[in-house]
Protein backbone atom coordinates (compact mmCIF):
# COMPACT_ATOMS: atom_id res chain seq x y z
CA UNK A 1 0.00 0.00 0.00
CA UNK A 2 1.39 3.36 -0.97
CA UNK A 3 2.06 5.95 1.67
CA UNK A 4 -0.56 8.12 0.04
CA UNK A 5 -3.19 5.47 0.50
CA UNK A 6 -2.02 4.96 4.06
CA UNK A 7 -2.50 8.64 4.74
CA UNK A 8 -5.95 8.45 3.26
CA UNK A 9 -6.93 5.56 5.45
CA UNK A 10 -5.55 7.28 8.52
CA UNK A 11 -7.50 10.39 7.71
CA UNK A 12 -10.58 8.30 7.31
CA UNK A 13 -10.08 6.69 10.69
CA UNK A 14 -9.51 9.98 12.43
CA UNK A 15 -12.46 11.57 10.70
CA UNK A 16 -14.69 8.73 11.79
CA UNK A 17 -13.61 9.30 15.36
CA UNK A 18 -14.30 13.00 15.02
CA UNK A 19 -17.71 12.31 13.57
CA UNK A 20 -18.50 10.05 16.51
CA UNK A 21 -17.33 12.77 18.88
CA UNK A 22 -19.91 15.13 17.41
CA UNK A 23 -22.58 12.46 17.23
CA UNK A 24 -22.44 11.73 20.93
CA UNK A 25 -23.70 15.09 22.21
CA UNK A 26 -25.91 15.45 19.16
CA UNK A 27 -27.71 12.27 20.13
CA UNK A 28 -28.93 14.08 23.21
CA UNK A 29 -29.90 17.12 21.24
CA UNK A 30 -26.79 19.23 21.72
CA UNK A 31 -25.04 20.69 18.71
CA UNK A 32 -21.35 21.29 19.36
CA UNK A 33 -19.32 23.26 16.81
CA UNK A 34 -16.25 23.30 19.00
CA UNK A 35 -14.91 19.77 18.97
CA UNK A 36 -11.78 20.89 17.19
CA UNK A 37 -10.96 22.47 20.51
CA UNK A 38 -11.20 19.13 22.31
CA UNK A 39 -9.19 17.56 19.54
CA UNK A 40 -6.52 20.20 20.08
CA UNK A 41 -6.44 19.50 23.80
CA UNK A 42 -5.97 15.81 23.21
CA UNK A 43 -3.32 16.42 20.59
CA UNK A 44 -1.24 18.83 22.62
CA UNK A 45 -1.54 17.03 25.94
CA UNK A 46 -0.58 13.67 24.52
CA UNK A 47 2.24 15.21 22.50
CA UNK A 48 3.62 16.96 25.57
CA UNK A 49 3.44 13.71 27.50
CA UNK A 50 5.27 11.65 24.93
CA UNK A 51 7.84 14.23 23.93
CA UNK A 52 8.68 15.94 27.18
CA UNK A 53 7.79 13.32 29.74
CA UNK A 54 8.59 10.31 27.61
CA UNK A 55 5.43 8.47 28.50
CA UNK A 56 4.44 5.58 26.27
CA UNK A 57 1.80 6.21 23.66
CA UNK A 58 -1.25 4.49 25.08
CA UNK A 59 -1.37 6.25 28.45
CA UNK A 60 -0.61 9.56 26.73
CA UNK A 61 -3.52 9.14 24.40
CA UNK A 62 -5.82 8.17 27.22
CA UNK A 63 -4.72 11.02 29.46
CA UNK A 64 -5.09 13.44 26.58
CA UNK A 65 -8.57 12.14 26.02
CA UNK A 66 -9.45 12.29 29.70
CA UNK A 67 -8.34 15.88 30.05
CA UNK A 68 -10.36 16.77 26.97
CA UNK A 69 -13.26 14.86 28.50
CA UNK A 70 -12.99 16.71 31.79
CA UNK A 71 -13.12 20.00 29.95
CA UNK A 72 -16.06 18.64 28.05
CA UNK A 73 -17.88 18.02 31.30
CA UNK A 74 -16.94 21.47 32.57
CA UNK A 75 -18.34 23.07 29.43
CA UNK A 76 -21.26 20.68 29.49
CA UNK A 77 -22.75 22.10 32.66
CA UNK A 78 -23.28 25.68 31.55
CA UNK A 79 -24.21 24.28 28.15
CA UNK A 80 -27.34 22.86 29.76
CA UNK A 81 -28.79 26.32 29.89
CA UNK A 82 -28.32 26.97 26.19
CA UNK A 83 -30.24 25.66 23.27
CA UNK A 84 -29.82 25.47 19.53
CA UNK A 85 -27.91 28.32 18.00
CA UNK A 86 -26.83 29.70 21.37
CA UNK A 87 -25.23 26.41 22.31
CA UNK A 88 -23.61 26.16 18.90
CA UNK A 89 -22.09 29.61 19.26
CA UNK A 90 -20.89 28.93 22.78
CA UNK A 91 -19.13 25.78 21.65
CA UNK A 92 -17.69 27.65 18.68
CA UNK A 93 -16.39 30.28 21.06
CA UNK A 94 -14.90 27.61 23.26
CA UNK A 95 -13.12 26.00 20.33
CA UNK A 96 -11.60 29.31 19.35
CA UNK A 97 -10.56 30.02 22.91
CA UNK A 98 -8.73 26.70 23.04
CA UNK A 99 -7.01 27.40 19.74
CA UNK A 100 -5.93 30.78 20.98
CA UNK A 101 -4.76 29.28 24.20
CA UNK A 102 -2.35 26.98 22.44
CA UNK A 103 -1.17 29.83 20.27
CA UNK A 104 -0.17 31.94 23.22
CA UNK A 105 0.40 29.79 26.25
CA UNK A 106 2.70 26.88 27.05
CA UNK A 107 4.67 27.96 24.02
CA UNK A 108 7.96 26.77 25.44
CA UNK A 109 6.52 23.28 25.47
CA UNK A 110 4.56 23.42 22.29
CA UNK A 111 6.11 25.95 20.01
CA UNK A 112 2.96 28.04 20.03
CA UNK A 113 1.93 29.41 16.70
CA UNK A 114 5.02 28.02 15.04
CA UNK A 115 3.83 24.53 15.67
CA UNK A 116 4.90 21.51 17.60
CA UNK A 117 7.49 19.64 15.64
CA UNK A 118 9.01 16.26 16.08
CA UNK A 119 6.33 14.43 17.96
CA UNK A 120 8.33 11.25 17.91
CA UNK A 121 10.37 10.10 14.96
CA UNK A 122 8.14 7.50 13.43
CA UNK A 123 4.49 7.87 12.75
CA UNK A 124 2.37 5.39 14.62
CA UNK A 125 1.07 2.49 12.68
CA UNK A 126 -2.34 2.82 11.19
CA UNK A 127 -3.64 0.03 13.36
CA UNK A 128 -3.47 2.32 16.37
CA UNK A 129 -6.02 4.54 14.71
CA UNK A 130 -8.26 1.79 13.51
CA UNK A 131 -8.02 -0.02 16.80
CA UNK A 132 -9.58 2.96 18.50
CA UNK A 133 -12.13 3.26 15.71
CA UNK A 134 -13.15 -0.34 16.23
CA UNK A 135 -13.39 0.21 19.97
CA UNK A 136 -15.65 3.21 19.68
CA UNK A 137 -17.81 1.66 17.00
CA UNK A 138 -18.38 -1.26 19.32
CA UNK A 139 -19.09 1.15 22.14
CA UNK A 140 -21.75 2.96 20.18
CA UNK A 141 -23.17 -0.28 18.89
CA UNK A 142 -23.88 -1.51 22.38
CA UNK A 143 -24.91 1.93 23.55
CA UNK A 144 -27.54 2.27 20.84
CA UNK A 145 -29.17 -0.98 21.89
CA UNK A 146 -29.13 -0.21 25.58
CA UNK A 147 -31.49 1.60 27.86
CA UNK A 148 -29.02 4.46 28.14
CA UNK A 149 -29.17 4.81 24.38
CA UNK A 150 -32.95 4.82 24.57
CA UNK A 151 -32.80 7.57 27.16
CA UNK A 152 -30.53 9.56 24.89
CA UNK A 153 -33.01 9.21 22.05
CA UNK A 154 -35.79 10.41 24.32
CA UNK A 155 -33.76 13.38 25.49
CA UNK A 156 -33.02 14.25 21.89
CA UNK A 157 -36.66 14.00 20.85
CA UNK A 158 -38.28 15.82 23.74
CA UNK A 159 -36.26 16.87 26.71
CA UNK A 160 -39.06 18.18 28.86
CA UNK A 161 -41.15 15.06 28.58
CA UNK A 162 -38.10 12.89 29.16
CA UNK A 163 -37.42 14.57 32.43
CA UNK A 164 -41.03 14.03 33.41
CA UNK A 165 -40.77 10.31 32.88
CA UNK A 166 -37.77 10.01 35.12
CA UNK A 167 -34.81 10.45 32.80
CA UNK A 168 -31.86 12.15 34.51
CA UNK A 169 -31.34 14.79 31.84
CA UNK A 170 -28.44 16.57 33.45
CA UNK A 171 -26.40 13.42 33.88
CA UNK A 172 -27.12 12.27 30.37
CA UNK A 173 -26.39 15.49 28.57
CA UNK A 174 -23.25 16.36 30.46
CA UNK A 175 -21.91 12.83 30.10
CA UNK A 176 -22.64 12.86 26.40
CA UNK A 177 -20.70 16.07 26.11
CA UNK A 178 -17.81 14.68 28.09
CA UNK A 179 -17.65 11.41 26.19
CA UNK A 180 -17.74 13.28 22.89
CA UNK A 181 -14.89 15.45 24.10
CA UNK A 182 -12.93 12.36 25.14
CA UNK A 183 -13.30 10.81 21.71
CA UNK A 184 -12.20 14.04 20.03
CA UNK A 185 -9.25 14.21 22.39
CA UNK A 186 -8.14 10.69 21.50
CA UNK A 187 -8.55 11.52 17.82
CA UNK A 188 -6.35 14.56 18.36
CA UNK A 189 -3.68 12.50 20.04
CA UNK A 190 -3.72 9.98 17.21
CA UNK A 191 -3.48 12.79 14.68
CA UNK A 192 -0.50 14.28 16.44
CA UNK A 193 1.38 11.02 16.58
CA UNK A 194 0.70 10.09 13.02
CA UNK A 195 1.60 13.36 11.36
CA UNK A 196 4.28 14.19 13.91
CA UNK A 197 3.46 17.88 13.63
CA UNK A 198 0.61 20.02 14.90
CA UNK A 199 -0.08 23.71 15.06
CA UNK A 200 -2.99 25.62 16.55
CA UNK A 201 -4.17 26.74 13.15
CA UNK A 202 -5.16 23.17 12.32
CA UNK A 203 -7.82 23.08 14.99
CA UNK A 204 -9.95 25.91 13.71
CA UNK A 205 -13.65 26.51 13.30
CA UNK A 206 -13.78 24.94 9.88
CA UNK A 207 -12.46 21.68 11.24
CA UNK A 208 -15.26 21.74 13.77
CA UNK A 209 -17.75 22.53 11.07
CA UNK A 210 -16.49 19.68 8.91
CA UNK A 211 -17.00 17.23 11.73
CA UNK A 212 -20.53 18.45 12.17
CA UNK A 213 -21.11 18.11 8.44
CA UNK A 214 -20.03 14.46 8.50
CA UNK A 215 -22.78 13.69 10.97
CA UNK A 216 -25.43 15.91 9.44
CA UNK A 217 -24.91 14.68 5.93
CA UNK A 218 -24.52 11.06 6.79
CA UNK A 219 -27.52 10.97 9.06
CA UNK A 220 -27.85 12.48 12.50
CA UNK A 221 -30.07 9.91 14.11
CA UNK A 222 -27.67 7.00 14.22
CA UNK A 223 -23.95 6.70 14.81
CA UNK A 224 -23.44 5.05 11.45
CA UNK A 225 -24.47 8.29 9.83
CA UNK A 226 -21.35 10.03 11.03
CA UNK A 227 -19.26 7.10 9.82
CA UNK A 228 -20.78 7.34 6.36
CA UNK A 229 -20.41 11.10 6.30
CA UNK A 230 -16.75 10.87 7.30
CA UNK A 231 -16.26 8.27 4.59
CA UNK A 232 -17.85 10.42 1.94
CA UNK A 233 -15.99 13.57 2.85
CA UNK A 234 -12.66 11.81 3.12
CA UNK A 235 -12.84 9.50 0.13
CA UNK A 236 -15.07 11.27 -2.34
CA UNK A 237 -12.58 14.02 -3.11
CA UNK A 238 -10.28 11.28 -4.37
CA UNK A 239 -12.83 10.26 -6.93
CA UNK A 240 -13.53 13.82 -7.84
CA UNK A 241 -9.99 14.64 -8.82
CA UNK A 242 -11.16 15.72 -12.21
CA UNK A 243 -12.89 18.64 -10.61
CA UNK A 244 -9.55 19.98 -9.41
CA UNK A 245 -10.08 23.15 -7.52
CA UNK A 246 -13.79 23.08 -7.92
CA UNK A 247 -14.26 20.35 -5.37
CA UNK A 248 -15.22 22.89 -2.76
CA UNK A 249 -17.97 24.21 -4.97
CA UNK A 250 -19.16 20.67 -5.50
CA UNK A 251 -19.41 20.06 -1.78
CA UNK A 252 -21.13 23.35 -1.22
CA UNK A 253 -23.73 22.49 -3.83
CA UNK A 254 -24.04 18.97 -2.47
CA UNK A 255 -24.79 20.32 0.99
CA UNK A 256 -27.34 22.79 -0.30
CA UNK A 257 -29.00 20.11 -2.38
CA UNK A 258 -29.02 17.55 0.39
CA UNK A 259 -30.67 19.92 2.81
CA UNK A 260 -33.46 20.43 0.33
CA UNK A 261 -33.88 16.83 -0.61
CA UNK A 262 -33.16 14.90 2.54
CA UNK A 263 -32.54 17.06 5.55
CA UNK A 264 -32.03 14.39 8.14
CA UNK A 265 -29.09 13.04 6.24
CA UNK A 266 -28.50 9.97 4.19
CA UNK A 267 -29.09 7.29 6.78
CA UNK A 268 -32.28 7.46 8.77
CA UNK A 269 -33.13 5.56 11.88
CA UNK A 270 -35.78 3.67 9.93
CA UNK A 271 -33.17 2.13 7.74
CA UNK A 272 -31.41 0.65 10.70
CA UNK A 273 -34.29 -0.11 12.95
CA UNK A 274 -32.68 -1.19 16.16
CA UNK A 275 -34.68 -3.90 17.66
CA UNK A 276 -35.10 -3.71 21.38
CA UNK A 277 -36.92 -6.93 21.39
CA UNK A 278 -34.67 -9.59 20.10
CA UNK A 279 -32.11 -10.60 22.67
CA UNK A 280 -34.47 -11.18 25.56
CA UNK A 281 -37.41 -13.14 24.40
CA UNK A 282 -37.35 -16.63 25.80
CA UNK A 283 -39.76 -19.18 24.48
CA UNK A 284 -42.74 -17.92 22.52
CA UNK A 285 -42.21 -15.63 19.54
CA UNK A 286 -43.67 -12.09 19.51
Amino acid sequence: MSSYQLDLLSNLGINILLALSVYCPMATGQLSIGNAGFMAIGAYVSAILTVHLHLPLFPSLVIGGIIAGILGVIVGFPALRLRGIFLAMATLGFGEIVRNFFMNFLTSLTGGAYGFRGIGNIPISISWIWGWVAFFLLFFFFLSRSRVGLAMMATHDDETVSELIGVHIVLLKVSAFGVGAFIAGVAGGLYAHYYLYIEPEFFNVWESIHMVLYVIMGGMLTFWGGVLGAGIFTLLPEFLRFLHDWRGAFFGIAIIGLMIARPSGLITREMLRVSFWTPYRKGAKP
Binding site: S146, R147, A151, M153, A154, E163, L164, I165, G166, H168
Partner: protein, 253 residues
Protein backbone atom coordinates in the same frame (compact mmCIF):
# COMPACT_ATOMS: atom_id res chain seq x y z
CA UNK B 1 -57.13 5.98 60.59
CA UNK B 2 -54.90 8.93 60.06
CA UNK B 3 -52.96 7.67 57.05
CA UNK B 4 -51.52 10.54 55.07
CA UNK B 5 -53.34 11.04 51.76
CA UNK B 6 -51.53 9.92 48.65
CA UNK B 7 -51.25 13.46 47.33
CA UNK B 8 -51.81 16.66 49.26
CA UNK B 9 -51.63 20.24 48.04
CA UNK B 10 -51.47 22.67 50.89
CA UNK B 11 -52.25 26.33 50.14
CA UNK B 12 -50.42 26.23 46.84
CA UNK B 13 -50.12 29.44 44.83
CA UNK B 14 -48.36 30.24 41.59
CA UNK B 15 -47.77 33.60 39.99
CA UNK B 16 -46.37 34.19 36.52
CA UNK B 17 -45.16 37.75 36.33
CA UNK B 18 -48.23 39.60 37.45
CA UNK B 19 -50.68 36.82 36.81
CA UNK B 20 -51.95 34.73 39.72
CA UNK B 21 -52.53 31.40 38.02
CA UNK B 22 -53.17 29.28 41.09
CA UNK B 23 -54.50 30.85 44.22
CA UNK B 24 -54.22 29.29 47.66
CA UNK B 25 -55.23 25.85 46.50
CA UNK B 26 -55.57 22.94 48.91
CA UNK B 27 -56.75 19.47 48.04
CA UNK B 28 -56.21 15.85 49.00
CA UNK B 29 -56.19 12.72 46.94
CA UNK B 30 -56.58 9.31 48.53
CA UNK B 31 -55.21 6.11 47.21
CA UNK B 32 -57.28 3.98 44.89
CA UNK B 33 -59.91 6.43 43.69
CA UNK B 34 -60.45 8.34 40.49
CA UNK B 35 -60.53 12.11 40.84
CA UNK B 36 -61.64 14.74 38.38
CA UNK B 37 -60.25 18.25 38.04
CA UNK B 38 -62.64 20.45 36.12
CA UNK B 39 -63.24 24.10 35.50
CA UNK B 40 -63.62 26.60 32.69
CA UNK B 41 -60.74 27.24 30.30
CA UNK B 42 -57.87 29.07 31.87
CA UNK B 43 -58.85 28.04 35.37
CA UNK B 44 -55.33 26.82 36.05
CA UNK B 45 -55.85 23.08 35.82
CA UNK B 46 -52.81 22.26 33.70
CA UNK B 47 -50.77 24.61 35.84
CA UNK B 48 -51.68 22.48 38.83
CA UNK B 49 -50.33 19.43 37.01
CA UNK B 50 -47.18 21.33 36.16
CA UNK B 51 -46.72 22.30 39.77
CA UNK B 52 -47.21 18.75 41.01
CA UNK B 53 -44.74 17.32 38.51
CA UNK B 54 -42.13 19.97 39.13
CA UNK B 55 -42.23 21.78 35.81
CA UNK B 56 -42.63 25.04 37.70
CA UNK B 57 -41.78 25.76 41.30
CA UNK B 58 -44.64 26.84 43.57
CA UNK B 59 -44.68 30.48 44.55
CA UNK B 60 -45.97 29.44 47.93
CA UNK B 61 -47.49 26.45 49.69
CA UNK B 62 -46.38 22.84 49.58
CA UNK B 63 -47.12 19.58 47.82
CA UNK B 64 -46.67 16.19 49.43
CA UNK B 65 -46.74 12.64 48.15
CA UNK B 66 -47.62 10.65 51.26
CA UNK B 67 -45.03 12.10 53.60
CA UNK B 68 -42.47 13.14 51.00
CA UNK B 69 -42.38 16.79 50.10
CA UNK B 70 -42.35 17.34 46.35
CA UNK B 71 -42.20 21.10 46.28
CA UNK B 72 -38.45 21.40 45.95
CA UNK B 73 -37.75 18.30 43.91
CA UNK B 74 -36.77 18.20 40.26
CA UNK B 75 -39.12 16.62 37.76
CA UNK B 76 -37.22 13.41 37.24
CA UNK B 77 -37.17 12.70 40.97
CA UNK B 78 -40.88 13.28 41.23
CA UNK B 79 -41.44 10.90 38.35
CA UNK B 80 -39.27 8.29 40.03
CA UNK B 81 -41.30 8.60 43.20
CA UNK B 82 -44.30 7.34 41.29
CA UNK B 83 -46.16 10.19 39.63
CA UNK B 84 -46.73 10.02 35.86
CA UNK B 85 -48.66 12.22 33.50
CA UNK B 86 -49.97 12.79 30.02
CA UNK B 87 -50.27 16.12 28.26
CA UNK B 88 -52.99 18.30 26.83
CA UNK B 89 -51.54 17.99 23.35
CA UNK B 90 -50.16 14.51 22.82
CA UNK B 91 -46.40 14.52 23.19
CA UNK B 92 -44.87 11.36 21.85
CA UNK B 93 -41.28 10.82 20.80
CA UNK B 94 -41.29 11.24 17.02
CA UNK B 95 -38.55 8.71 16.42
CA UNK B 96 -39.68 5.88 18.66
CA UNK B 97 -41.95 2.91 18.23
CA UNK B 98 -44.84 2.10 20.53
CA UNK B 99 -42.77 -0.57 22.22
CA UNK B 100 -39.90 1.84 22.79
CA UNK B 101 -42.26 4.30 24.41
CA UNK B 102 -43.21 1.79 27.04
CA UNK B 103 -39.60 0.81 27.57
CA UNK B 104 -38.48 4.37 28.11
CA UNK B 105 -41.35 4.89 30.50
CA UNK B 106 -39.96 2.22 32.76
CA UNK B 107 -36.30 3.09 32.15
CA UNK B 108 -35.56 4.32 35.62
CA UNK B 109 -36.68 1.02 37.10
CA UNK B 110 -33.75 -0.81 35.62
CA UNK B 111 -30.55 -0.80 37.58
CA UNK B 112 -27.93 -1.57 35.01
CA UNK B 113 -24.32 -2.24 35.72
CA UNK B 114 -21.67 -0.50 33.60
CA UNK B 115 -24.15 2.16 32.70
CA UNK B 116 -26.36 -0.34 30.99
CA UNK B 117 -24.23 -0.55 27.92
CA UNK B 118 -23.53 -4.23 28.14
CA UNK B 119 -26.60 -6.42 28.57
CA UNK B 120 -25.79 -7.91 31.94
CA UNK B 121 -28.90 -8.34 34.04
CA UNK B 122 -30.91 -10.79 32.00
CA UNK B 123 -33.36 -11.77 34.68
CA UNK B 124 -34.23 -8.28 35.77
CA UNK B 125 -34.47 -7.08 32.20
CA UNK B 126 -36.73 -9.98 31.37
CA UNK B 127 -39.15 -9.07 34.17
CA UNK B 128 -39.26 -5.49 33.01
CA UNK B 129 -40.00 -6.52 29.47
CA UNK B 130 -42.76 -8.79 30.58
CA UNK B 131 -44.23 -5.87 32.44
CA UNK B 132 -43.94 -3.73 29.33
CA UNK B 133 -45.67 -6.38 27.28
CA UNK B 134 -48.48 -6.54 29.80
CA UNK B 135 -48.92 -2.77 29.69
CA UNK B 136 -49.29 -2.79 25.94
CA UNK B 137 -51.69 -5.72 25.93
CA UNK B 138 -53.95 -4.21 28.57
CA UNK B 139 -54.29 -1.08 26.45
CA UNK B 140 -54.79 -3.02 23.25
CA UNK B 141 -51.60 -1.73 21.66
CA UNK B 142 -49.73 -4.98 21.28
CA UNK B 143 -50.26 -5.31 17.53
CA UNK B 144 -48.78 -1.90 16.92
CA UNK B 145 -45.72 -2.31 19.01
CA UNK B 146 -43.23 -2.07 16.16
CA UNK B 147 -44.86 0.89 14.49
CA UNK B 148 -43.53 4.37 14.96
CA UNK B 149 -45.93 5.81 17.50
CA UNK B 150 -46.61 9.09 15.73
CA UNK B 151 -47.94 7.22 12.69
CA UNK B 152 -50.78 5.66 14.64
CA UNK B 153 -54.37 6.96 14.61
CA UNK B 154 -55.10 9.70 17.10
CA UNK B 155 -56.91 7.57 19.65
CA UNK B 156 -54.11 5.03 19.68
CA UNK B 157 -51.52 7.76 20.09
CA UNK B 158 -53.27 8.90 23.23
CA UNK B 159 -53.21 5.34 24.49
CA UNK B 160 -49.50 5.11 23.77
CA UNK B 161 -49.00 8.21 25.85
CA UNK B 162 -50.95 6.58 28.64
CA UNK B 163 -48.98 3.36 28.23
CA UNK B 164 -45.76 5.31 28.56
CA UNK B 165 -47.05 6.90 31.73
CA UNK B 166 -48.11 3.53 33.13
CA UNK B 167 -44.96 1.67 32.22
CA UNK B 168 -43.34 2.16 35.60
CA UNK B 169 -46.50 1.29 37.51
CA UNK B 170 -46.92 4.73 39.07
CA UNK B 171 -48.82 5.35 42.27
CA UNK B 172 -50.53 8.39 40.79
CA UNK B 173 -51.46 9.01 37.19
CA UNK B 174 -52.25 12.53 36.04
CA UNK B 175 -54.20 12.68 32.79
CA UNK B 176 -54.62 16.00 31.02
CA UNK B 177 -57.74 15.91 28.85
CA UNK B 178 -57.26 12.34 27.67
CA UNK B 179 -60.32 12.33 25.47
CA UNK B 180 -59.80 15.70 23.81
CA UNK B 181 -60.42 15.62 20.11
CA UNK B 182 -61.79 12.11 20.09
CA UNK B 183 -64.91 10.67 18.58
CA UNK B 184 -67.32 8.55 20.58
CA UNK B 185 -65.66 5.25 19.81
CA UNK B 186 -62.16 6.44 20.63
CA UNK B 187 -63.45 7.99 23.84
CA UNK B 188 -65.03 4.76 24.92
CA UNK B 189 -61.84 2.91 24.09
CA UNK B 190 -59.84 5.20 26.34
CA UNK B 191 -62.41 4.97 29.13
CA UNK B 192 -62.31 1.20 29.07
CA UNK B 193 -58.55 1.37 29.30
CA UNK B 194 -58.81 3.71 32.27
CA UNK B 195 -61.19 1.35 34.02
CA UNK B 196 -58.70 -1.50 33.63
CA UNK B 197 -55.92 0.73 34.91
CA UNK B 198 -58.00 1.58 37.91
CA UNK B 199 -58.34 -2.13 38.60
CA UNK B 200 -54.56 -2.27 38.83
CA UNK B 201 -54.83 -0.02 41.83
CA UNK B 202 -53.50 3.12 40.20
CA UNK B 203 -54.90 6.36 41.60
CA UNK B 204 -56.00 8.68 38.83
CA UNK B 205 -56.48 12.44 38.64
CA UNK B 206 -58.11 13.55 35.41
CA UNK B 207 -58.51 16.97 33.84
CA UNK B 208 -61.52 16.79 31.55
CA UNK B 209 -63.92 19.01 29.70
CA UNK B 210 -66.32 16.32 28.64
CA UNK B 211 -68.87 16.31 31.47
CA UNK B 212 -70.31 12.90 30.73
CA UNK B 213 -66.83 11.41 31.04
CA UNK B 214 -66.21 13.19 34.31
CA UNK B 215 -69.52 12.36 35.87
CA UNK B 216 -69.38 8.75 34.80
CA UNK B 217 -65.78 8.05 35.65
CA UNK B 218 -64.87 9.97 38.79
CA UNK B 219 -65.43 9.18 42.41
CA UNK B 220 -64.66 12.71 43.55
CA UNK B 221 -64.41 16.00 41.71
CA UNK B 222 -62.49 19.25 42.30
CA UNK B 223 -63.78 22.37 40.56
CA UNK B 224 -61.39 25.20 39.79
CA UNK B 225 -62.05 28.71 38.60
CA UNK B 226 -59.50 31.50 38.33
CA UNK B 227 -56.97 29.33 40.05
CA UNK B 228 -59.10 28.69 43.11
CA UNK B 229 -61.04 25.68 44.27
CA UNK B 230 -64.64 26.71 44.22
CA UNK B 231 -66.17 23.35 45.00
CA UNK B 232 -65.46 19.68 45.55
CA UNK B 233 -67.54 16.61 46.07
CA UNK B 234 -69.15 13.60 44.45
CA UNK B 235 -70.54 13.94 40.93
CA UNK B 236 -74.08 14.26 42.14
CA UNK B 237 -73.13 17.00 44.61
CA UNK B 238 -71.23 18.92 41.97
CA UNK B 239 -74.02 18.63 39.47
CA UNK B 240 -76.30 20.53 41.81
CA UNK B 241 -73.75 23.11 42.96
CA UNK B 242 -74.80 26.71 42.28
CA UNK B 243 -71.36 28.23 42.03
CA UNK B 244 -70.17 25.58 39.62
CA UNK B 245 -73.10 26.14 37.32
CA UNK B 246 -72.47 29.83 37.37
CA UNK B 247 -68.82 29.43 36.58
CA UNK B 248 -69.62 27.31 33.56
CA UNK B 249 -72.59 29.31 32.40
CA UNK B 250 -70.43 32.35 32.57
CA UNK B 251 -68.24 30.66 29.97
CA UNK B 252 -71.11 30.04 27.63
CA UNK B 253 -71.46 33.54 26.22
Amino acid sequence: MKEPPLLALNRVSKTFGGLLAVNDLSLEVSKGYIYGLIGPNGAGKTTVFNLITGVYPCSSGSIHLKDVELTTLKSYRIARLGISRTFQTIRLFPNMTTWEHVLIGQNFLSRPRLGGILPLQRAEEFTLREQAEETLKVLGLWEMKERRAVTLPYGSQRKVEIARALAARPKLLLLDEPTAGMNARETEDVLNALAKIHDFGVTILVIEHDMRVVMGLCDHIFVLNFGQKIAEGTPSEIRKNEEVLEAYLGQEE
